[in-house]
């Protein structure tokens, strides 16, 4: 009977998406109203400085976060895969941040990164007074503090998937490669990595959809500041809908977010489709 909840959630998802799309074409402000304003809400959102900054930030944050968490997760997985002692403990430690809510992560990192009370102050108190680490309040670097906190939070997730992948590599292939005299670099580069492609793609897609919908982390860490330097699309949607009382424009921004998400998910779906066809024809 799995299809009953499935159908319900699908209907829920589709109806709310359709409703949001409809609202984005109406002149709704404080409460939803009917009417038709064409693309006016969209042009207003796209022309606003807030959205432009948010979109640029999304490109930077999305690519940096996905790439770096992928690399960090993969390195951690390789290190853990060396049959070391205390692997279970280390694995829990690396996975632990995932169990913490993003609001907590954001708050803790906002303390650590605050130059007046956090890492910079600690180093100053140790005697190195010229040390500077004020990214959180530097409007050009603040977006990187979000990248740091997000990587801390979710590279454990990438690690767990990669570790499972590494463990599932056929031992016979590795042995064969060893007999052929492959060193560790060639082994990972030529033999193991190619088998991890499906996992890599999965990690990228999961992390990307998180990056696009990121809200709680930014809200707790910088709240879009300093000034409006770390705006992200989800913050803009919330701000338009609830702070500014512009439901129509907020809905338009939300639909734009959905389009960005589709731009990620559709190629992924196409790739999966091609893979499956290949598998069945092989």
């Amino acid at each position: 009977m799995i299809w009953v909840p499935l159908l319900l959630s699908a209907a829920h998802l589709v109806s709310f998406s359709l409703w949001t799309i409809w609202i984005s074409f109406t002149p709704s402000t404080l409460v939803p109203v009917s009417g038709w304003v064409g693309l006016r809400n969209y042009t207003a959102v796209i022309a606003s400085r807030n959205w432009q900054i948010a979109f640029d930030n999304l490109l930077l944050f999305g690519s940096a976060f996905v790439l770096l968490s992928l690399v960090t997760g993969f390195m951690l997985a390789i290190l853990l895969d060396q049959r070391i002692r205390g692997e279970n403990v280390l694995r829990s430690i690396f996975l632990y941040p995932l169990a913490v809510s993003f609001v907590v992560t954001g708050t803790v990192w906002s303390w650590l990164l605050n130059p007046g009370i956090g890492i910079e102050k600690l180093v100053h108190d140790l005697g190195w007074t010229s040390f500077r680490f004020d990214w959180l309040v530097d409007r050009d670097m603040a977006i990187w503090t979000i990248v740091i906190a997000a990587i801390w939070q979710s590279s454990g997730f990438a690690m767990a998937l990669f570790l499972a992948g590494l463990r599932s590599v056929d031992a016979d292939i590795i042995k064969a490669a060893q007999i052929d005299g492959a060193g560790p670099f060639r082994m990972y580069g030529r033999v193991i990595l190619p088998t991890l492609w499906p996992i890599t793609i999965t990690v990228v897609v999961v992390q990307l959809q998180f990056a696009i919908s990121a809200f709680d982390l930014v809200r707790a860490l910088t709240n879009g500041g300093p000034g409006i330097a770390t705006q992200l699309p989800a913050l803009v949607v919330y701000d338009l809908m609830f702070q500014r009382g512009l439901l129509g424009r907020g809905a338009a921004a939300a639909v734009l977010m959905l389009l960005i998400l589709l731009a990620v998910l559709l190629p992924y779906a196409a790739w999966r489709y091609v893979q499956q066809r290949r598998a069945t024809h092989a």
Binding site: G116, G224, D239
Partner: protein
């Protein structure tokens, strides 16, 4: 025919005789009940509304308060949900131009008769009265007033800088800040990093330079004044203030720096009257600081108004209607306003309340006399940063420009002027 008349009279008379006691019984049986939503749950705000609820119960009412902690936004979401569901609260907190905006989406109660009976209109500042009767009818009642441009001076910092004069104009203020800086204070201005905090620096600067230009540009969105010399001077003043602020606060509230302010590591603070309550709650003494009206270049106090208010939503239940009447009477009562302001650190809406007695601080007395002076000189204006001057959409668009300007010192004042005018155009 006389018979019929008699019979009719008789019928009507007996019907009335029968109905009257029932009506009277219904009237006396109705126990006033009030459903209220507000954002006040903790601290002095929570204590004040709880005290108001107690008074309501003492008068025989049933007090049903649902606080929605957090920001006004969260409270408005609950209000929106209840209005869409057709079940608005009998009364809710709402302030500024949002009163006019929200009153269009659901019917409100006309309070004109109650306001007239209490003679309330005569004792409310005209700018404030206008906000609470959009369309000419009183539908909401202001409860307490804060000025957002009060100047807090740290006594220890004044001693360190060997200064004893309270600055009156922006030139005085800038001199004192320089003096403090020369005296070894790295950051003479105690500040926060939030949007309203940045907004307050701007509105205090602008209104202090020219209240008339502030009214034209910010409250009436006059295009010429929005690009005029006064607003450019205001942005230049904001830059000076920003250079004296600690940049490390990030997105934190101003209260983060209160201890450094009292200790004399920071000298001045531009804040609303509520900071008095926060300072007192944090255990600091009134001897630690001085509260004065914010700098004003024409030397007469400028009062940036911020007022909390209640709006009354139409309900058909007789007990809720009786509750609304009772609540309105309580809110306008000088004794209740005294009690409320003494808990929160605000000043009463009624300009006829005597603040000379015990229970009032010097800061509150100065605030009240600043309001009186400002009303007399037509120098009361509405706060932008605290959502009194414009609806949320316009306010947020303007604060975006201001907060970016405060944090990004490469933006020139004239650029900021252009951006602000563009933001207004885009949000209009």
């Amino acid at each position: 025919m006389p018979i019929t008349t008699t019979r009719r009279r008789l019928l009507a008379g007996s019907a009335a005789t029968l109905a009257l006691p029932a009506f009277a019984r219904a009237q006396s049986a109705v126990k006033p009940r009030l459903t209220v939503i507000s954002q006040w749950s903790a601290g002095s705000d929570g204590a004040a509304i709880t005290a108001l609820g107690k008074k309501f119960e003492e008068k025989g009412g049933v007090w049903q308060h649902s606080p929605v902690p957090g920001f006004t936004t969260e409270m408005m979401n609950k209000l929106r949900a209840q209005i869409i569901a057709g079940d608005p609260p009998a009364c809710s907190q709402l302030k500024g131009p949002e009163i006019a905006a929200w009153s269009k989406i659901a019917p409100t109660v006309n309070l004109d008769a109650l306001v007239a009976a209490a003679g309330y209109e005569k004792v409310v500042a005209p700018d404030l009265a206008r906000l609470h009767k959009p369309g000419g009818k009183w539908i909401s009642l202001p409860l307490q007033i804060y000025s957002t441009n009060m100047l807090f001076l740290s006594k220890r910092a004044m001693d360190k800088a060997k200064a004893d004069k309270i600055p009156v104009t922006w030139a005085d203020f800038n001199d004192l800040a320089e003096k403090m800086k020369a005296g070894g204070m790295a950051y003479p201005i105690a500040n926060g990093g939030t949007r309203p905090d940045d907004g307050q620096k701007f509105e205090a600067s602008f209104a202090g330079i020219s209240p008339a230009a502030y009214r034209a540009a910010i409250m009436n969105l006059d295009e010429k004044t929005l690009k005029g010399p006064e607003i450019k001077a205001a942005f230049a003043q904001v830059r000076k203030i920003a250079d004296w602020m600690d940049p490390n606060v990030g997105a934190q509230p101003y209260a983060t720096n209160l201890k450094r302010f009292v200790d004399g590591d920071m000298g001045m603070m531009i804040q609303g009257g509520w900071a008095q309550g926060v300072l007192r709650n944090a255990g600091f003494k009134f001897d630690d600081f001085i509260i004065a009206p914010g700098p004003s270049d024409n030397t007469k106090p400028v009062f940036l108004l911020n007022a909390d208010a209640f709006i009354f939503w139409q309900r058909s239940e007789p007990d809720l209607q009786a509750g609304q009447t009772l609540m309105a009477q309580l809110v306008m009562d000088p004794a209740i306003q005294t009690m409320y302001s003494q808990i929160t650190g605000s000043i009463p809406v009624r300009t006829d309340v005597d603040l000379s007695g015990a229970g009032w601080s010097d800061g509150q007395r100065r605030t009240a006399s600043a309001l009186k002076d400002a009303v007399a000189n037509n120098q009361t204006v509405l706060s932008l940063a605290h959502n009194m001057a414009q609806e949320n959409g316009l306010t947020a668009a303007m604060i975006d420009v201001i907060t970016e300007y405060v944090k990004n010192k490469t933006i020139k004042p004239e650029q900021a002027v252009t951006r602000l005018a563009e933001a207004v155009e885009g949000a209009r």
